[in-house]
């Protein structure tokens, strides 16, 4: 009885929409043409098509690099570093804290607009003005280095969250352990490697679980910056789904991609949860 409310919520907001998506993925539902009115059940045709769809595989690879470099490497490493540096008391600490945390509070589209002006081509782009001091010619950042740029923007956005989580992980490690390690002759680096890192593993996995799944699903930030372009260079899966569903009007096919993505996320999530060895 006690689980009834959560069962209803689960059904209304997770199971039912998933069911609809899975059903839709087995139809040729479209936004225009005859299939818009009378979608036909076509079984696994969308999925077989997906397997030979090079654009889909390319978008998966792009998503992989995007998640790896922005969430797993960039945000995690910089978030951990910030958490460690900002543990000490110093005069400008609240200032740095605010700078790191703020991007997190900004909505994705707003962040994208800020970065559009930052990365704008021509000599009036903010970044171009900055590099001009070093004698570098104006660049078309989002055209020349599109994937690197959206990775940078996403790192900027996510450090704060990583820092908060790492901070809570760090503060759970007793100061006495570090003192004991000092008495045992550990250098700062040894203490980090042999005490901090191992004790932070559960926190790191928790972070990876959350950030991998949310980063795979990122849409607004990139869509507003590049729309997946130029020439699909930043078309991560979320953008590809949108482009297929609402650009090419193939809702059935878009749903099939979404279902595959959901399965990927579930597999990755299960892997992390197993690694965490916690009950979820």
């Amino acid at each position: 009885m006690l689980v009834l409310p959560s069962a209803i919520l689960l059904f209304a907001f997770v199971l039912y929409p998933s069911g609809v998506a899975i059903y839709t993925s087995m139809t040729n539902l479209s936004l225009t043409g005859p299939a818009a009115l009378n979608p036909r059940f076509i079984g696994f045709d969308n999925y077989t098509k997906l397997f030979s769809d090079h654009t889909f595989w390319r978008s998966l690879v792009i998503t992989f690099w995007f998640v790896l470099f922005s969430a797993i490497i960039g945000q995690l490493v910089l978030g951990l570093l910030s958490a460690i540096l900002l543990k000490r008391q110093f005069a400008l600490r609240p200032f740095f804290n605010a700078i790191i945390l703020m991007p997190n509070a900004v909505p994705g589209v707003v962040a994208a607009l800020m970065w559009s002006s930052m990365l704008a081509s021509g000599e009036y782009g903010t970044l171009n003005k900055i590099v001009a001091w070093f004698g570098v010619d104006p660049q078309r950042w989002l055209v020349t280095f599109p994937l690197s740029m959206i990775i940078v923007v996403n790192i900027w956005r996510g450090i704060g969250f990583a820092m908060i989580l790492m901070n809570s992980g760090l503060s759970a490690i007793s100061e006495e352990l570090y003192e004991a390690a000092r008495m045992d002759g550990a250098t700062t680096w040894q203490a980090f490697r042999k005490i901090t890192l191992p004790l932070l593993v559960p926190t790191i996995f928790l972070y990876l679980l959350v950030s991998t799944v949310t980063t795979i699903a990122i849409f607004a930030l990139i869509y507003a910056l590049t729309r997946g372009g130029p020439a699909g260079a930043t078309e991560i899966v979320g953008i590809y789904i949108y482009n297929q569903s609402f650009g090419s009007y193939q809702l059935g096919y878009g749903s099939a991609i979404a279902v595959v993505l959901l399965i990927f996320s579930l597999i990755i999530g299960t892997f992390y949860v197993r690694a965490l060895k916690v009950e979820v």
Binding site: S174, E176, L177, E179, A180, A181, R182, M183, D184, G185, A186, Q190, K194, I195, P198, L199
Partner: protein, 362 residues
């Protein structure tokens, strides 16, 4: 070698001085105990010796060498923390061998030495367990193992038994003494428990508010406290202090009269002049007098605590109740008139500032 000397050592935390010029000398191989009430600065003093806390003023010398600015791992000093501070993600073996591992000692050598230590501390069956799967006493032993594997010349203990139950404490006290014998290391042991201090120490340093009140061996502290703080801190129940006056000094005898009106004759003490003093009498130096026997104190009971083999009798003094610790079981309801005899040779005289007045010969 581990001779420790503190010269006028001071420590301030942000302008607040918590150690106010400590002079302490601990000989090589001694078992020294720092004892004092909670918050008096024992841990701070220990942590300065360990190198975990900077020394704000004065000098700390180890075997004649100034150690103020030497980093902790180069002092050849080990420390056992109050909450043990075992590394939770490492096994018992890894905990004990951690310092060797950091020094890149060959694996085989680490294994051998950890094995020896574990054997000595009866930890062999637990070598592959994590600390969370150990009892309090076993964790304590792991912490000790982690300290002694470094073969330090000095081992510091910060209230190591405070997390253990009473029976285990008695057992660990015996093990610590055995450890002291077998390692020959200088030990500095911090506690707020005077019984622990008395039973373990070669030398006790009594601290109060960041100052050394007295340093002596346990029996010396008990017999010749230099001030009322030490007098009342060492011994249980604590020493009675009666406000009194020196009435007369006649030849070899001093007559003291307490404010409650009891006359007490003591052997003469050099430098004692007529005037107000505090008379200190330990509860165990008072005995119940039979009706025909002489007795200095005539009063009534306030309360008696019967322990079977002995009885603690609280009695009226006009101020704070006094206490007598007498052998045997006595049923004395509150208000019973009693007579107590004083052992004059066991009395202590303190001036009004609480300093002991004592003959040099005594």
């Amino acid at each position: 070698m581990g001779t420790i000397v503190l010269n006028q050592v001071r420590k301030s935390f942000g302008g607040h001085e918590v150690i106010k010029g400590a002079d302490i000398r601990i000989e090589d191989g001694q078992f020294a105990v720092f004892v004092g009430p909670s918050g008096c600065g024992k841990s701070t003093l220990l942590r300065m010796i360990a190198g975990l806390e900077d020394i704000s003023g004065g000098e700390f010398l180890l075997d004649g060498k100034v150690m103020n600015d030497v980093s902790p791992e180069q002092r050849n000093i080990a420390m056992v923390f109050q909450s043990y501070a075992l590394y939770p993600h490492m096994t018992v073996a890894e905990n004990i061998g951690f310092s060797l591992d950091l020094k890149k000692t060959p694996k085989a050598e680490i294994k051998r030495r950890v094995g020896e230590i574990a054997e000595r501390l009866q930890l062999t069956p637990y070598l592959n367990r994590k600390p969370s799967a150990l009892s309090g006493g076993q964790r304590q032993r792991v912490a000790i193992g982690r300290a002694i594997i470094k073969e330090p010349s000095v081992i510091l203990f910060d209230e190591p038994l405070s997390n253990l139950d009473a029976a285990l404490r008695v057992q660990m006290r015996a093990e610590l003494q055995e450890l002291h014998r077998s390692t020959g290391a200088t030990i500095i042991y911090v506690t707020h428990d005077q019984v622990e201090a008395m039973t373990l120490a070669d030398q006790i340093v009594v601290l109060k508010d960041g100052q050394v009140m007295q340093t002596n061996d346990p029996i010396g502290l008990y017999k010749e406290p230099e001030n009322t703080f030490v007098a009342q801190f060492i011994g249980s129940p604590k020493m009675n202090l009666f406000p009194a006056k020196v009435e007369s000094v006649a030849g070899d005898v001093v007559r003291i009269r307490t404010d409650a009106g009891w006359p007490i004759d003591l052997p003469a003490i050099e430098g004692l002049r007529a005037g107000p003093v505090q008379l200190g009498i330990r509860p165990e130096s008072l005995t119940l007098a039979a009706p025909h026997e002489p007795a200095e104190i005539e009063t009534r009971t306030v309360l008696s605590e019967r322990l079977g083999m002995e009885t603690y009798i609280s009695f009226e003094t006009g101020g704070e109740p006094g206490i007598a610790r007498v052998p045997g079981d006595h049923s004395l309801p509150s208000g019973t008139p009693i007579r107590l005899a004083v052992d004059p040779s066991a009395c202590h005289i303190f001036d009004n500032d609480g300093r002991a007045i004592r003959s040099q010969s005594a």
